[in-house]
């Protein structure tokens, strides 16, 4: 399988990465090189094989359903590019 220019633009939008028109041919070439490389997986017989979900067989640990963290709003917003009080600031989303 390979991707065309329209697909490159669609993927870029899905990935939320702005891509200019003159970058598209280059990206298309790179993505197709990667897709050509992974193409060889189609020759593997995976009939009846379970997809891997956990590389080490283990039971997921569960913790007590109690609050054990919090009250750190200052920390949470400490690195944000724009804040007001304990809120993140973004461009207007709802008109």
């Amino acid at each position: 399988m390979s991707v065309d220019a329209a697909t490159v633009r669609r993927i870029a939008h899905l990935a939320r990465i702005a891509v200019s028109e003159d970058e598209v041919p280059h990206l298309q070439g790179e993505l197709n090189a990667m897709l050509a490389f992974v193409e060889q997986l189609s020759e593997v017989n995976v009939e009846g094989v379970e997809p891997m979900t956990s590389v080490t067989p283990m039971q997921m640990k569960k913790r007590q359903d109690v609050v054990d963290d919090g009250e750190i709003a200052d920390d949470i917003v400490a690195n944000a590019p724009a804040t007001e009080g304990h809120f993140f600031l973004v461009p207007k989303v709802v008109e």
């Binding site: 702005a18 992974v38 593997v44 590019p81 724009a82």
Partner: protein
């Protein structure tokens, strides 16, 4: 006094305990070495004041007889580990001036045991790369050069800063991470020892995530014993990482010097590649002969799905990365580029903040997870991954204790020499290491010799799940036979 930077960690521990020198002296010696080696670009942030404060505090503890297992040992920390109050960027522009308000579990355990932080080490952006060329801080120089040449070579990646700093004697050991070979390949390129432990051995909490089902932390060190000492402090269960395993951490150092007599060592025939340099072949046979001389038994084994590990990796890892890196949105931390609306803000921030390799991987990951392609790519790759793991299980079920392979298909290469036209050329660096991540197994790279141009080459040992001890025992046999390698100083 001998040059304190030339000691191994084990030797430094003795000197500190015997009060031959203090941690402050040891730390100062390394800080001076770092200053004199800035041309290598191994450190992206030096923290001398903090290092001296930590060293003074630990000297007082040592005086009171309260020093931990790493008391007073100065280390470098890969910039992928969150360090409280110290800028952590994953060497990406998108994290900007991110200063964590918390400490990663692995580094907090090193400080608990008395280690001293010298600074943060360069790496490929978000650990995506095999040459440390994708860092937003620029490439790292390998302290090793070809004989008679002034060309600066790459130290490998993604833990290139860690490997370069340890090889150049700038720190006594370093933290690193390994998603497809990022500890073992740079270790092999710099004649250092690097171990990627079993998936689940070290907590991933506070480490910038790349591909969560593959990422593992581990040390890069000057000797096998040093690596064992570091891993003991780094490993252990952490309730904050549900994939970290709740089993005791053995005293890895006790495995050093243990007899390997009667151990069965698998030599996988699929790792004998067409066109593999004769020097690598020779090194591999030599390594096998050393283990045999130490009493181990060599058996040929087959891992039939080996050739599919790298392509499967280049579906699984980018898919997980595209999901993990969705958090860099210009809202909560790091870089922000303005846009007319919030979608444009996201798109502009991510276009400006991610480098070319990261953008490529996020896009391929987005594609293989997108509607209509998930089954053909992602699901199939995860099935292939099951088969890769089964290859190893079959092998271990036949009584094989560990598997010996070359660590890399070549020695270090020049900056800008690979991957310019076709990204896959660079990816092939990880052909011998990536299988281990796909199967979640432990793997160690140990320096084993040099090529005709005088560049170091390494061998890899792959172990059973959670049996890092056998790797330390076997690794030390190779180290004893091959000797240790130090680069001639040119910086």
């Amino acid at each position: 006094m001998t040059d304190l930077t030339s000691l191994t960690l084990a030797e430094a521990r003795k000197g500190l305990a015997a009060k031959t020198f203090t941690s402050l002296e040891l730390t100062d010696a390394h800080l001076s070495a770092i200053e004199a080696a800035r041309v290598l670009n191994a450190f992206v942030m030096e923290t001398p004041d903090q290092a001296r404060d930590m060293a003074k505090a630990v000297d007082e503890k040592i005086a009171r007889g309260e020093g931990g297992p790493l008391a007073g040992i100065p280390l470098g920390i890969k910039d992928l580990f969150a360090t409280k109050g110290v800028r952590t960027t994953a060497c990406s522009k998108i994290l900007g001036n991110f200063v964590p308000t918390y400490e990663s579990t692995v580094t907090s355990q090193l400080w608990r045991d008395g280690a001293v932080m010298l600074g943060k080490l360069n790496n490929d952006e978000f650990a995506m790369g095999s040459a440390n060329e994708t860092s937003c801080f620029g490439p790292v120089g390998n302290p090793w050069r070809r004989e008679g040449s002034n060309t600066t070579l790459v130290p490998g990646g993604s833990s290139g800063g860690s490997a370069s700093a340890v090889a150049a004697l700038l720190c006594m050991g370093a933290t690193a991470t390994d998603t497809g070979g990022s500890i073992r390949q740079p270790a092999a390129f710099t004649a250092t020892v690097g171990i990627k432990p079993t998936y689940g051995r070290c907590s991933r909490w506070g480490i910038v995530a790349f591909a969560s089902s593959l990422d593992q932390a581990g040390p890069i060190a000057r000797s096998v014993r040093d690596a064992a000492m570091l891993l003991r402090s780094m490993a252990g269960h952490d309730p904050k990482d549900t994939t970290s395993v709740d089993i005791p951490v053995p005293d890895y150092e006790a495995a050093i010097g243990k007899s390997v007599k009667g151990m069965k060592i698998g030599i996988p025939r699929e790792y004998r590649l067409d066109g593999m340099p004769a020097e690598i072949e020779k090194l591999w046979s030599e390594g096998a002969a050393w283990l045999k001389a130490a009493g181990a038994e060599l058996v040929e084994v087959s891992l039939p799905h080996t050739k599919y590990a790298l392509p499967a990796y280049y579906i699984v890892a980018p898919a997980e990365a595209s999901s993990n890196l969705a958090r860099y949105d210009g809202v909560r931390y790091g870089l922000r580029e303005q846009g007319k609306n919030i979608i444009e803000l996201y798109e502009n921030t991510r276009a400006e903040g991610f480098g070319a390799e990261v953008r490529r991987r996020v896009m391929i990951g987005t594609y293989v997870l997108s509607a209509g392609y998930y089954d053909a790519y992602y699901l199939r790759a995860q099935k292939v991954r099951t088969l890769i793991k089964k290859d190893f299980e079959d092998c271990f079920a036949k009584g094989v204790d560990a598997i010996l392979t070359p660590a890399t298909p070549s020695a270090a290469f020049g900056i800008g020499e690979k991957g310019g036209a076709d990204p896959v050329e660079m990816y092939l660096n990880d052909i011998f290491t990536v299988t281990v991540n796909m199967a979640g197994l432990p793997g160690i790279a140990v320096p084993a010799g040099k090529d005709a141009q005088g560049l170091p080459l390494g061998l890899q040992l792959i172990g059973r799940p959670f049996d890092e001890e056998t790797l330390f025992s076997l690794g030390e046999v190779i180290e004893q036979a091959a000797g240790r390698f130090t680069p001639a100083r040119w910086w």
